[in-house]
Amino acid sequence: MGTLTIGIFSSLIGSMSFDFTMKLAEAAVNKGHKVNLWFSGNATSAAKNNQKHLKDYSTGEKPLKALLEKGVEICTCEACTSARGIQKTDAIEKIQWNAMHWYLAKIHHSDRVLHIGGE
């Protein structure tokens, strides 16, 4: 089995890129691959807890928690997240907070990398 690292830069709401990333990560981990997720830019808004799932909007909290339970490592860019007014106390538990070198280190140890750009 391989290691897949996905960098996601799209916002939780506004495109379906984030939703796609959640489904792709789930499919990979269900096949037995190791998966790492890096949030940067507008994707960091997905680290916020207590998201309300309105049917008109895609949702991140539930799939993120499921991925964490399956052993997916998820890390959000601390600077990008804090700049958006989200503090660690407001964030989904078990999501790591770190800087961009975390992403590069995971890339270094990955068999495949998917970099899903922002808006």
């Binding site: 940067s40 070198h101 280190a105 890339i107 270094h108 750009g117």
Partner: protein, 136 residues
Amino acid sequence: MAHTKLAFISQRPPYKSENPKLAITHTIAYQIVEILLDEGETVVPTLCFIGEGVLGCLKDQKAMENYGMTSTETHLKNALLVDVDVLVCKEDLERFGITEDKLLDAEDMGADKRLQIVPFESIQKEIESANHVLFF
């Protein structure tokens, strides 16, 4: 694998989105990645500007005055200062009528590196030789 070669491609105009800044800051992060790697392991980045991305290489940007934020120019000068190879697509510069004298450098910061204006063919070779390519 001891060395991982990464090609960061910045293809969007500065300030319209966050992407160009993130391309540069993610590239610069190679400087401290070794604290998370084993001894002897390194990440070697190349930062390439293509398409509208080349607009981020102009000098005398006024981002602090106009937006109250660090300019793409400053981020890029920091990249040169930490010895990142920065390639700028020659054909795209010509398309925008940008001559070399309009491009930034980081001489005032003491950087040894300068922007490298190269044909797209050279950037394509960087992409092909990289272990991973990251489009911003």
